[in-house]
């Protein structure tokens, strides 16, 4: 109790004896949300977290944060369709952050400077061993995340080199092989990982052997068997599958060059193939797809599943798309193909709400082409593990990659059938590693996703419009089969671009709450508080006015009723 003074004076700062916190009916608190980029990332990266590190000028720490989820950022920065950018809140404000370009820059910096992975636990000769089948994106990711958690890993692949689809089917114009080799090499230099090339399951090693020698088995065999394709039972005499042609081209540099070609399918393989053929001098290249092109009239789940940049480049190069269409008849003269008959169709919900393809009579059109190439997807080639999958095209594991009827076996990547991107395969590897750890340690695997923060939670008064960084591309006439088309960002651009991140749902350390509290009830600290910010609420004095929550640019401060 303050002393009553003689005369009408008071000692300085004595109001601190009066705790205005008792007035409060609502209480502010910090909420560590998931930024939309993080929520959208199939690999589980927290882009907001590593962009924040770049904002602090700590590139190496940013990369360390990035590789807690994704060991191959230089690769995904190039090949991922970056759903993070489509989800980015900044897209509503002006233009999304160029996340994939920054990721690629970080990945390249790590290669250039030889950064090593930060591991959680060292591996010892006594550590439990796990077998990983398939050294594609999911297998490499699983191996990395297992070693990171202190497991020994034996990684098997049928081919002499690791990389899977990354090596066999992604054009060099999107993924230079030096980048691929560097990132794989960094994974292979991890202690506790052994790579066994030229080991095909069922031929050089059996599944039961692997199961008896290892605590768990991860299957990342990919999808290699092209699905059967015909049009009403008719098939051209010289049928080649799209993926097969790309593999041939990557290996030998050879590709058929008819005068005109129709490619049937709407994935990256179809578009890659179209561009390769166009560059090799095929005059007319058409892509016929049941999906739509991105645009205001197209539902997000109906858009072509292609990296947006690749689609843009394909259009620049003169590839012609026929969206919302299918081939309903092959037109032959003798055994020679002279054209296809297309018809409009859409994927529409039918009885029970399940979508099916409905074609529209009266929209048929003939397209004269010399060749038709199906590129409608691939299924798992089950040789060597028939007992795991039976006659199905794909595995059907749970979200952690666990197979209900085969405990100890985990699956990820394209073999699941519901993934379809490198990033998703990398995410599968990480999830499976967590599930394998839980399986070995006989615990429950914990998944605690954070709630995603929406644009309406931000206070954008505190941000300024700023154009997205410009990244150069090689002009169409100068494009060849080997030179990467999209160019690098420079360091200054990376810093500028990361500075555009609005830190959705996480503390920006902007001082707004500290500055605007009329009651001096926000305390700034030099240390990072347990909730990731630099600010504490002094609940002894906070009156609960909610100014801090309104003026927080990031939605990081919320109010709830005082109990």
């Amino acid at each position: 109790m303050a002393a009553i003074t003689r005369g009408a004076y008071a000692r300085p700062g004595t109001s601190l004896a009066f705790k205005t916190g008792t007035w409060r009916v609502e209480i502010p608190y910090h909420k560590h949300w998931a930024a939309p980029c993080h929520a959208a990332c199939p690999a589980g990266e927290d882009q907001q977290a590593w962009l924040a590190k770049i904002q602090e000028g700590k590139l190496h720490e940013a990369w360390n944060e990035l590789v807690t989820a994704n060991p191959m950022p230089a690769i995904t920065g190039r090949v991922c369709p970056h759903p993070c950018e489509q989800a980015c809140n900044r897209g509503i404000y002006d233009a999304p952050i160029a996340i994939h370009n920054i990721e690629r820059f970080l990945g390249d910096e790590a290669i250039r400077l030889g950064w090593n992975y930060p591991l959680l636990r060292p591996t010892t000769p006594e550590s439990p061993a796990v077998a990983v089948v398939g050294a594609g994106p999911s297998g490499l990711s699983a191996a990395y995340h297992l070693v990171r958690r202190g497991f020994r890993v034996n990684l098997f692949d049928a081919l002499p080199e690791a990389g899977g689809l990354l090596r066999s089917a992604i054009p060099m114009t999107r993924l230079p092989r030096e980048v691929l080799d560097s990132e794989i090499q960094r994974i292979f230099s991890l202690d506790g990982l052994r790579f066994h090339p030229r080991h095909r399951l069922g031929r050089d090693v059996s599944l039961s052997e692997l199961q008896s020698d290892h605590a768990a088995v991860f299957m990342g065999p990919g999808a290699e068997r092209s699905k059967a394709w015909d049009v009403d039972g008719a098939v051209p005499a010289d049928l080649h599958q799209g993926l097969h042609l790309i593999k041939e081209w990557v290996d030998h540099g050879e590709i058929p060059t008819p005068k005109s070609v129709a490619i049937h399918g709407g994935g990256n393989t179809a578009v890659d193939l179209a561009r390769i053929m166009k560059r090799r001098g095929v005059e007319e290249v058409y892509v016929i797809t049941a999906s739509g092109l991105p645009g205001p009239g197209t539902a997000p789940d109906d858009v072509l599943n292609v990296v947006p940049r690749e689609l843009e480049e394909a259009l620049e190069e003169g590839v012609v798309f026929f969206p919302h269409r299918t081939i309903q008849r092959l037109i032959m003269r003798g055994s020679k193909m002279i054209g296809v008959e297309m018809v409009h169709l859409k994927k529409l919900p039918g009885k029970g709400g399940r979508k099916s393809r409905v074609s529209f009579q009266g929209t048929e059109r003939v397209l004269n082409v010399d060749m038709v190439i199906p590129s409608i997807g691939e299924a798992v080639d089950s040789a060597g593990f028939e007992n795991l999958i039976g006659n199905a095209n794909y595995f059907r594991p749970d979200d952690w990659g666990r197979l209900a009827e085969h405990p100890g076996v985990f699956v990820g990547g394209d073999a699941r059938g519901d993934r379809g991107t490198v990033s998703a395969a990398i995410g599968d590897g990480c999830k499976a590693a967590m599930a394998i750890q839980a399986h070995v340690e006989q615990t429950e695997v914990i998944d605690a996703p954070r709630e995603t923060v929406g644009y309406e939670s931000l206070n954008v008064n505190y941000f300024e419009p700023k154009p997205r960084a410009y990244v150069a591309k090689i002009p169409v006439p100068e494009r060849d089969d080997f030179t990467e088309i999209e160019q690098d960002m420079i360091y200054a651009q990376v810093v500028e671009e990361a500075g555009r991140c609005m830190s959705c749902g996480n503390c920006l350390a902007c001082d707004n709450c500290w500055t605007f509290c009329p009651d001096n009830a926000v305390i700034k600290t030099r240390d990072v508080c347990s909730d990731g910010s630099h600010y504490l609420f002094d609940y002894e004095f906070c009156k609960g006015c909610g100014l801090c929550a309104t003026e927080c640019p990031c939605g990081f401060i919320l109010m709830r009723p005082q109990d």
């Binding site: 700062g13 006015c545 100014l547």
Partner: protein, 354 residues
């Protein structure tokens, strides 16, 4: 002694007195300070525990002004909310020498304090604080005298546009058409009949070296203007727009939001005047309709009465007043300025961007 050297010496004296360091030696991370409040990297001239309402704009403005003015000041405070809520005897929220005498004489008391300090050869700056009642109306002649006699005092008026302390009576600062308890809207009038007094022009007509208006929505602007005024030997004046959640009828959480709309609409222009001339303004990037500002407050609710033709007329009147401000001060500029109404509060990781 050069004035700067004496300032440095005085600061050292104050630091020694309060056991503070000059910040050149960082605290040992192994031995963090026990009381984080004591370790705040800013001057806490106005401490917590004061009795202002939730979301009080005036408490925030006074805190920001005192913070920027620094420790070597003395304050003379007119009667009003600020005086009442900061000093419920025997406690005080102030950590600088502070005196309250009457409603009308804050400027006169400050004049005497300044003269006494001058006689003693001390450089401590005298501040005078008052609300709009104590400045626009009751204390106006004392203020005019202080300016005319060229006392070295910074007078800060916390403008919440009515007598809030006594129960929301209209003042010379209350905007046109606002409801107060003495200007209730009804059959005869739509709130206050008269206009807001253009005090800054009157003050400026005293030919003082510096007078400016600023707003709680732009703390960086407050800081800059306080520091500018502190450097000047002679009478200076600041008008700080500070919303009153109780008197204006809005949620305490929206204080900044509303203050910002007042500036962005042009109704409360942020200008700087030197020797009677406008020398700088905060440009408006994209003028916000005045209605956005009005509809957020209960004191203008009658201006949105659906079947009263006077409502729209008065709304248009206020819009015309804002347009007039924009026109005479040249507030609107085609090009974005990093320090305009949209840019001045931009933040980045680690604080303000500009």
């Amino acid at each position: 002694m050069a004035p700067n050297a004496s300032k440095i010496e005085r600061l050292k004296e104050l630091r020694d007195k309060h056991g503070r360091t000059d910040g050149s030696v960082l605290p040992d991370p192994a031995d963090p300070p026990k009381d984080l409040r004591q370790a705040q990297p800013r001057f806490r001239g106005l401490e917590a525990g004061h009795r202002a309402c939730q979301g009080c704009g005036e408490a925030l403005a006074a805190r920001l002004v005192t913070e920027a003015a620094g420790p070597d000041v003395m304050i003379s405070n007119a009667t009003g909310c600020l005086e009442v809520f900061t000093t419920p005897w025997p406690q005080s929220a102030w950590r600088v020498p502070w005196i309250h005498s009457l409603f009308e004489n804050a400027a006169a008391v400050a004049s005497g304090m300044e003269a006494a300090l001058k006689a003693q050869g001390k450089s401590t700056k005298v501040l005078a604080f008052g609300g709009d009642g104590g400045t626009f109306d009751i204390g106006f002649q004392a203020l005019s005298g202080m300016l005319e006699r060229e006392h070295n005092v910074l007078y800060v008026c916390f403008d919440n546009e009515a007598y809030m302390n006594t129960g929301i009576q209209r003042s010379g600062s209350t905007p046109h058409a606002a409801r107060t308890t003495t200007s209730p809207p009804g059959k005869a009038r739509m709130g206050k009949r008269h206009l807001k007094k253009d005090l800054l022009s009157i003050i400026s007509a005293h030919h003082i070296p510096y007078g400016a208006s600023t707003s709680v929505a732009y703390p960086a602007d407050i800081r800059r203007k306080v520091r500018r005024a502190m450097e000047i030997q002679g009478p200076t004046f600041l008008l700080v727009h500070s919303p009153c959640p109780l008197g204006w009828g809005h949620d305490g959480a929206l204080t900044i939001e509303i203050a910002r709309l007042a500036v962005q609409s042009g109704l409360f222009p942020l200008v700087e005047m030197e020797r009677g001339e406008v020398t700088d303004v905060m440009p408006i990037r994209k003028p916000v309709p005045v209605a956005n500002y009005l509809k957020a407050q209960q004191r203008f609710r009658h201006l949105f009465a659906p079947d009263d033709p006077r409502a729209l007329q008065e709304r248009e009147h206020l819009q015309a007043l804002a347009d007039y401000n924009i026109e005479i001060y040249g507030l609107y500029s085609e090009e974005a300025d990093p320090l305009d109404t949209d840019g001045a509060d931009t933040v980045r990781r680690g604080g303000l961007a500009n």
